[in-house]
Assembly symmetry: C2
Homo-oligomer: 144 residues x 2
């Protein structure tokens, strides 16, 4: 399924639940589905500002919350570098994060299900969410 299809589907599903699709919301959603870069709220805001000069950062945050409540965006909380958002893979998955250029990429899937099963057995927890972050230097930043 390509980006356009995903966009249409997501918008339709939101509409069905009674959510109004404003130009601002549409723009934020389209932006999120257009990139693998895990943008921050600020980056979404400044990225859209040229085309939506009256857009408010508050609206970006509100749209992100809306999508989060519908499980349509993954929020990665970082206290140092601010939160980042993934609209393409809005489910928990591992990330590799470059501490120099702050690039975030998705490593090919590890067997997270097996790991979670093990932790669950060892701790007695019912695991409902996870966060697997690997910090280091990306290939490009190793050269510089």
């Amino acid at each position: 399924m390509d980006t356009q299809e995903k966009l249409a589907e997501l918008v339709a599903s939101l509409k069905k639940e009674g959510t109004r699709i404003t130009p601002q919301r549409y723009a934020v959603i389209a932006f999120l589905l257009s990139t693998d870069s895990h943008p921050s709220a600020e980056e979404i805001y400044t990225g859209l500002l040229p085309q939506y000069p009256t857009l408010s950062l508050a609206t970006v945050y509100k749209t992100l919350h809306l999508l989060k409540s519908e499980q349509e965006v993954l929020e990665l909380e970082f206290s140092e570098m601010g939160n980042r958002y993934d609209g393409r893979k809005p489910w928990p998955h591992p990330h590799a994060i470059c501490t120099r250029c702050r690039k975030i990429i998705d490593p090919p899937m590890l067997d997270t299900a097996a790991i979670i099963e093990e932790v669950s057995k060892e701790t007695g927890f019912v695991i409902t969410n996870h966060r697997l972050d690997f910090f280091g230097l990306c290939a490009e930043c190793q050269k510089g």
Copy 2:
């Protein structure tokens, strides 16, 4: 090695590097080594206040930074629930976090080295740090 030994050793090592061991610093370090509860800065502060009524929260933060720079405390950043600190196992390791009572426990070691090796190969990153968090309900909170 018990807590008292660890405390003496850590204090000696800090002293050797020219760090002054003030009563406040000693108290924060002793508090951190006395618990597996992964306390917040605020909890350390309020925990010590009865015995150190003039203690400042800023001093707690500064001491935590000092220990972090010496790799003697592990800082777990959470933007929602605030940062938590682990002075007993100050190296990266997995955590199981109860989303209801906010308890944090250490699951018996997974083979994190193998996982990191795999991520490193797949991404080309040099991995220098990691954060493996598993969120859910602890055994007690499943009952309530």
